[in-house]
């Protein structure tokens, strides 16, 4: 911002800037360089992990908009993903549709489903709504499995590598760039939303519906909008998933996937964009982290049987621990750490009674 010296802001535009200090600009630049240069140094497998994390981040950000910002609990996230993925699968399988057709179609299906699930949200609150979305999940999965069974796709429907603008996306490297860019774009949109009129209206509804209505916010409309926005992005993520994995199959969208996404925003820190990103990374990488730790402790030996259930259990345990002891999630820890670093070596802590 040309007018800002870095510390004093002279316009409201400057005050609203996302990246306003030199340190932040440097950090952002470093992150961009790191992500761009990673393929040169990282192994294909590490790249695959980052790619997976990026895709998970898109899903987590979409869920965060719905649950974190607008306060509408959804247990149907995997259902939306599944709908997007199967839209691609069915269109590619039946009419060989190109991505420029399938992706908008997936978004449209997402919007329709979001509306369908959103309408009951106008009458339902909290748990009842969650149950409605859960029921939707099972219905979507049923429809998908009917399709899969009827057409005899035993191992799932194949989705060949897509071609956009003459480029055929098939290598791990291409997908790395595509998905990291997708995640970056979603992050930017999500950050912008939180500071815009619509995002604020959602947070108002989340905190107190009556107060929101008193400010002229059309609560019903905005709830519906949150469902539609979230489900469009989720369905798109599902569509990209289908292309990236080059197949779709019902088994990939079990209820456990929903739990994983909820865990991401819970562990990351509900309602925070950074939290959704941290949570997505954490949940995606956790099993591999456990592998690495066990590998380091017991090199050479074949992994013991108990390790595998343990990886699954660690996820459940961590989710419980975060819920019990760190409701603000990883973002909360990050903020405390930042305060600690900034203040170090001083040991300033707010008075206990002040909390």
């Amino acid at each position: 911002m040309a007018h800002g010296s870095g510390y004093f802001k002279t316009t409201y535009e400057a005050d609203m800037a996302l990246v306003d200090t030199r340190l932040r600009r440097l950090t952002l630049a470093a992150l961009v360089v790191l992500l761009a240069a990673l393929p040169r140094v990282a192994s294909p497998f590490s790249l695959e992990l980052v790619t997976q994390t990026a895709l998970a981040a898109v899903g987590a950000l979409a869920l965060n908009v719905l649950t974190g910002l607008a306060g509408q609990i959804s247990l149907g996230h995997a259902g939306f993903l599944c709908a997007g993925a199967f839209t691609v699968g069915i269109l590619v399988e039946s009419v060989k549709a190109p991505p420029l057709v399938t992706l908008p179609a997936a978004a449209l299906v997402g919007a329709l489903l979001g509306t369908l699930v959103g309408v009951p949200s106008l009458r339902l609150k909290g748990l009842y709504l969650a149950l409605g979305t859960l029921a939707m999940h099972f219905v979507v999965l049923y429809a998908a499995s009917e399709y899969q069974a009827r057409w005899g796709f035993n191992t799932g429907v194949s989705v060949p590598a897509p071609t956009i603008a003459g480029i055929r996306f098939r290598s791990g490297l291409q997908w790395y760039y595509v998905l990291v860019a997708f995640a970056a774009l979603t992050t930017l949109l999500s950050v912008n939303l939180t500071r815009s009129r619509v995002g604020r209206a959602w947070m108002a509804i989340r905190d107190r519906e009556i107060a929101a209505a008193s400010l002229g916010i059309a609560v019903a409309r905005y709830k519906l909008l949150a469902f539609v926005a979230s489900s469009v992005v989720t369905a798109l993520a599902g569509a990209v998933w289908a292309y990236y994995r080059s197949f779709v199959s019902v088994e990939a969208f079990s209820f456990f996937v929903t739990i994983e996404f909820i865990a991401m925003i819970v562990i990351g820190g509900m309602g925070s964009t950074l939290g959704a990103l941290l949570g997505a990374s954490f949940v995606t990488l956790l099993p591999y982290g456990i592998d690495a730790v066990v590998g380091a402790l017991a090199p050479g030996g074949a992994a013991p049987y108990w390790l595998f259930p343990l990886k699954f259990g660690a996820f459940g345990l961590l989710m419980a621990l975060f819920l019990l002891f760190e409701p603000l999630g990883l973002v909360g820890i990050w903020r405390r750490a930042r305060t600690w670093i900034v203040l170090w070596p001083l040991r300033y802590a707010p008075l206990r009674s002040a909390r």
């Binding site: 409201y12 500071r195 815009s196 619509v198 995002g199 905190d207 008193s214 002229g216 916010i217 926005a229």
Partner: protein, 257 residues
């Protein structure tokens, strides 16, 4: 800013599960004036405000704003007609900053939709900046500058109440509805608040419907007073007259032996 609107409540009745909260109440708030609503606890003051704001269903009667009926409309439509409300128990969005709370007050005046907000570039960005300027004006008006970036739940209760008023003011309402704004404020805060109330009336010309416990303040500031007891109007008129009526004294102090 737009001039104040006149509110007419005619023979309004509200019942909850057989309990008659309001019974044929008529209240008028003339344009540009401060109309106070007083009465003992449980008299039905907040219920009346809820009915005006569309937060509870009415049994019979009518509510008109500048002659147009608003009863039966959903709350957000009533807000769009120009009714701004500050709540008794604040009802701010506690995790947000004062600034964000006030920006929410600008909701009705802003246009940016979902996509514009997500892109946050060009027009939607300029719109945001323009409304930020209006919010800053409100912050300055109510002298909240130093709390601008604080999360609401970290503020003292009196300041929170003032923020509630600020948020309602940011809506640029034609009718400002205040529910016991001064309760929980310190002596000094109350004095400031009295000043703000007069400035709202004189500088902004907004009609104010004001529920208040502090009868001294009402006597000093209100143009007209309506006294409620057990869901019925027991006195109405200029403060000096209405507050000294025998039935009002009785309602507050109990029947004298």
């Amino acid at each position: 800013m737009s001039a104040g609107a006149a509110l007419e409540v005619e023979r309004l009745s509200v019942a909850f599960r057989g309990l008659q909260a309001l019974n044929g109440v008529s209240v008028r708030a003339s344009a540009g004036e401060i109309t106070a609503l007083v009465g003992p606890n449980g008299a039905g003051k907040t219920t009346l405000l809820n009915a005006v704001g569309g937060f509870c269903a009415i049994t019979t009667g009518s509510i008109r704003l500048d002659g147009a009926p608003i009863h039966g409309l959903p709350s957000h439509r009533i807000a769009a007609r120009g009714v701004g409300r500050a709540f008794q128990f604040v009802e701010l969005f506690r995790h947000m900053t004062v600034l964000d709370n006030l920006m929410l007050g600008r909701h009705l005046h802003m246009r940016a939709g979902l996509l514009a907000g997500a892109v946050f570039f060009g027009r939607s960005r300029r719109e945001q900046a323009a409304h930020r300027a209006r919010v800053e004006a409100v912050i300055e008006f109510l002298e909240l500058e130093r709390y601008r970036r604080d999360a609401v739940d970290s503020l003292p209760f009196g300041v929170q109440k003032l923020c509630g008023v600020a948020r309602a003011l940011a809506m640029e309402p034609r009718l400002l509805v205040l529910d016991e704004p001064s309760s929980g404020m310190s002596r000094e805060e109350k004095e400031d608040f009295a000043r703000f109330l007069l400035r709202i009336k004189h500088e902004l010309g907004t009609t104010v419907l004001w529920v208040e416990h502090d009868l001294e303040m009402v006597a000093d500031l209100a143009d007209r007073v309506t006294v409620l007891d057990f869901g019925q109007v027991i006195a109405e008129g200029p403060p000096a007259e209405a507050l000294s009526a025998p039935q009002v004294v009785e309602a507050y102090l109990g029947r004298q032996p």
